[in-house]
């Protein structure tokens, strides 16, 4: 783990007129971490990244990098490299000139620059394109050029704003894997903005989940997946998303569509809840909640079933060979630890 690139956001608020793009955001990033800012579009991820980069100033709150308050430090003095969603390559310069620009600005000697440029280009496999202009590159190559420009200078923080969103699906998967390896090999702290939960889940060491200008949960992907803090996060993370159905809690059990499921809760009494069960956590069983198969989506190795349980839609992922057919009536069960309960009014986990 490198010792540089520790970040701390303390009570950051960003107002645009009356509109709060960020409402009291606090989090910490550890040196060497791959940290994702995940959330739906408009939730304040880019705003957070731009405040970290120094491109925007927070309305209130402080930003610390490596323990130093940088809230009023100029962007160019923060030693931060960034890959923009649009790549923001300099169209009048060749790939080599683009990559060398940050080194030139740092007054690095010419001879060292050309070696560093070649090295960075090789790392992202565009060393054969150094003489081209950005306009002569494919989307994927442009993206790599932007990456090379960011990694060529050994900045202490490496920011990426939806860097894969302009690539086609196949290229996105390939680049995603490479990006992770690159970050590991460079041993830098990376802050990665995405609205794609799968990207965040696969790339991040830890992530902060944004909803409407607030961080609702911070944790490793596994933690957030296993214990989502709120209905919103539960519905946002995982594909297909978690089933969230109105239900009634009763002395340790939860009643969903007339069927009683065991939970790990022990509180006595009764109340209305929202019950969440991941499609993959539901099993087809000889007995349980009875359901009619409305639709079968065959994904090859698995299938997703849309079930009608007394008027409630529930989705189940099955990997068995004997996938039920549309129109069949089946029974489903779930283990107590796979049932999440949320407060229907606050949306918070119970």
């Amino acid at each position: 783990m490198s010792g540089r690139g520790q970040v701390q956001f303390r009570d950051i608020v960003k107002m645009h007129g009356d509109f709060a793009a960020l409402k009291d955001v606090s989090f910490e990033i550890k040196p060497g971490e791959f940290f994702a800012l995940l959330g739906p579009s408009g939730s304040g991820k880019s705003t957070t990244l731009r405040i970290l980069a120094g491109l925007d100033a927070p309305t209130s709150g402080r930003v610390f990098i490596d323990g130093k308050d940088v809230t009023s430090t100029d962007a160019r003095d923060r030693d931060i490299a960034m890959v923009f969603q649009s790549y923001a390559l300099y169209p009048h310069m060749t790939v080599a000139e683009n990559i060398s620009f940050p080194l030139e600005m740092a007054n690095m000697p010419k001879a060292e620059i050309s070696a560093a440029v070649k090295d960075a280009a090789r790392k992202v496999r565009i060393d054969h394109l150094l003489d081209r202009k950005p306009g002569q590159l494919s989307g994927g190559q442009q993206q790599r050029c932007a990456l090379a420009r960011a990694i060529v200078r050994k900045a202490r923080l490496f920011l990426l704003d939806e860097p894969l969103s302009n690539l086609d699906a196949k290229l996105r998967l390939e680049t995603r894997a490479e990006l992770k390896k690159l970050q590991r090999s460079l041993d830098v702290t990376a802050v990665y903005v995405t609205h794609d939960q799968e990207e965040a889940m696969t790339l991040a060491d830890r992530m902060a989940v944004f909803m409407a200008g607030e961080i609702q949960q911070v944790g490793t992907p596994a933690e957030v997946f296993a214990r989502p803090n709120s209905i919103e996060i539960a519905g946002f993370i995982g594909n297909p998303p978690m089933n969230l159905v109105p239900a009634r809690y009763s002395n340790g059990d939860v009643i969903i569509a007339g069927h009683r499921f065991k939970t790990i809760m022990q509180a006595s009494g009764e109340r209305d809840v929202v019950a969440g069960i991941r499609p993959g956590a539901l099993r087809v069983a000889p007995s349980g909640l009875s359901a009619r198969v409305e639709l079968v989506e065959d994904l090859g190795d698995t299938a997703v079933l849309d079930l009608d349980c007394a008027g409630t839609l529930i989705r189940v992922r099955v990997s068995d060979e004997n996938v039920p057919r549309e129109g069949d009536t089946i029974s489903i069960t779930a283990r107590a630890q796979d049932i999440h309960l949320f407060d229907p009014t606050t949306g918070k986990r119970l």
Binding site: A53, R76, I80, M82, S86, A88, Y90, F101, M105, R153
Partner: protein, 279 residues
């Protein structure tokens, strides 16, 4: 298919008509400039004659040489262009980046200066220059030309600057560039075409200007557009010499046009393709 060809043909025909209409006076001047004054006066006009450089020799090296006037024109035009660009580039950049309430109005102001009838403001301009003692000086003429060329140049340049995404500048800041270096290394190179177009327009406007020059200049400063009239007098008009001066005055225009042609065409079409860059 045939419809398309017909359209191309029609376009070519129309272009030819325009070309002839514009080329005729130019060709006429060139022909006359190669005649003697006597041939130039002949009626019906002579198309067959012995060409001579006499007129050129006289207007360049004779007693009423226009060489100083060509120099005068050059100083005024280059001076106006340089000062205009030095001020217009940062101004246009700022206008393109800033959001302020008067932005729409600023656009209107620019157009208004282009629409004002020059005769309407020539007397106030004259009085202003006389009061500060700048009549018949280079700085006086250039100052007056600036009042037209500057708004025009800014207006033309703004659309080019607006085409550059702000993110590109932010990328440069994060790469460690200062604002000035970003402007110089990242922004200016991308608006080169627009700058070339603007330089050409500003230079030509200054070079061709007559009305203000005739009123506000005098003996020290006397651009070629004004000096030309030495060859027109009550008794006679020296047509061949007048034509020779015209051709000489047109030369820089033609040269500039040829040199900058690529940029002008590109600059204009880039604006057009990007959906009316000339907001």
């Amino acid at each position: 298919m045939t419809g398309k060809r017909l359209r191309v043909f029609a376009l070519l025909a129309i272009s030819l008509v325009f070309l002839l209409a514009w080329a005729f006076p130019v060709l006429w001047s060139v022909l006359n400039s190669l005649k003697t004054d006597r041939d130039a006066l002949a009626y019906p006009p002579k198309l067959i004659f012995t060409p001579t450089w006499e007129a050129y020799h006289d207007v360049l090296f004779g007693s009423a040489s226009i060489l100083p006037n060509l120099v005068s024109s050059m100083v005024i035009s280059v001076g106006t262009t340089v000062v205009t660009m030095l001020m217009a580039i940062p101004a246009a950049y700022a206008l393109a980046r800033l959001r302020f309430r008067g932005k729409k109005f600023a656009g209107f102001y620019v157009l208004a200066t282009q629409m004002l009838p020059p005769v309407g403001i020539i007397i106030p301009y004259f009085l202003v220059l006389r009061n500060i003692g700048w009549i018949d000086t280079y700085q006086g003429i250039i100052l007056i030309y600036l009042s037209f060329s500057l708004p025009f140049a800014i207006w033309l340049l703004v659309s080019y600057f607006e085409d550059i995404p702000f993110e590109m500048e932010e990328a440069a800041y994060l790469d460690g560039a200062s604002r000035l270096r970003t402007l110089w290394r990242i922004i200016i190179p991308q608006v080169r075409g627009g700058i070339a177009v603007t330089v050409v327009f500003v230079f030509l406007n200054a070079w061709n200007e007559f009305l203000f020059a005739v009123v506000l200049s005098g003996n020290t400063v006397r651009p070629v557009t004004v000096a030309m009239f030495n060859f027109v007098s009550v008794e006679q008009t020296l047509w061949a010499k007048l034509a020779a001066v015209s051709v000489l005055a047109m030369l820089p225009v033609v040269v500039l046009g040829v040199v900058a042609q690529k940029h002008i065409v590109k600059g204009l079409t880039v604006g057009a393709v990007k959906g009316g860059g000339r907001r």
